[in-house]
């Protein structure tokens, strides 16, 4: 089980800030593939991963990063702080 979190417009497209997901995905990208087939809202949110950023356990990482041991994965658009 993994906590998957969504922020900003990713959160709005999916309609949830957070969910727990049962997955055997090996990498972030594998998880994205699993999410995409969950329905239209997911397909819309994950249509273009180049427009997204991902963090595993609150550290920014890449989409080819392994998920082994991960407790929390977060998807969001490029950050706009400052």
């Amino acid at each position: 089980m993994i906590d998957v979190m969504y922020f900003a417009w990713v959160r709005e497209r999916i309609g949830e800030p957070k969910e727990r997901i049962e997955t055997d995905a090996a990498t972030v990208m594998d998880l994205v593939e699993e999410l995409r087939v969950r329905g239209e809202r997911y397909a819309a949110a994950f249509a273009d991963v180049s427009a997204l950023r991902v963090a595993i356990d609150q550290e920014l990482t890449e989409f080819d990063a392994p998920l082994a041991g991960a407790r929390e994965v977060a998807f969001f658009p490029p950050m706009t702080g400052g």
Binding site: M5, F7, A8, W9, R11, A55, Q58, E59, L60, E72, A74, F76, P77, P78, M79, T80, G81, G82
Partner: protein, 146 residues
């Protein structure tokens, strides 16, 4: 070194004076204040979302990096989240050093990283509707110089 993530507003002048007093001995103090501006002329509010579990640690990491790279007597980052209106302060960075170049460089570094690597997302609410602020390529490019 101090990092604060808060929804309440803050007083940049009071923060600057308190920071300067605390880093006694540094000759150069640089501050940056980010203010909500009404670009379109129809802004009713700015909403700032963040990733609570990650924000504090991401900011602390950026500040540690600045402290390792420049000769700093102190560094301060304050960043707000929640609903803000025009002219409200969004965030503030302050750096202190014996050398003005270090204070300036560290402040610019902190700002560049805050823009693109700290988990904040801004949404503008205008009379015409609402829209997430898009990240700008030049902000991503700005990181390359460090």
């Amino acid at each position: 070194m101090s990092v604060r993530v808060q929804s309440e507003t803050f007083d940049p002048g009071a923060e600057l004076n308190a920071f300067t007093a605390a880093v006694d001995g540094a000759g150069a103090v640089v501050s940056f204040t980010g203010v909500v501006r009404d670009v379109s002329g129809g802004l009713t509010a700015m909403e700032i979302e963040h990733y609570p579990g990650m924000t504090q640690s991401a900011l602390a990491k950026i500040v540690d990096e600045a402290t390792a790279r420049w000769d700093l007597a102190g560094a301060l980052v304050i960043h707000r989240y929640g609903v803000l209106t025009a002219s409200e302060n969004i965030m503030m960075v302050a750096t202190a050093s014996r050398h003005r170049v270090d204070a300036f460089q560290a402040a610019e570094f902190l700002m560049d990283y805050l823009k693109s690597r700290a988990p904040f997302w801004k949404k503008e609410l205008t009379r015409q509707g609402e829209a997430w602020v898009a990240a700008r390529d030049e902000d991503e490019d700005a990181l390359k110089r460090w």
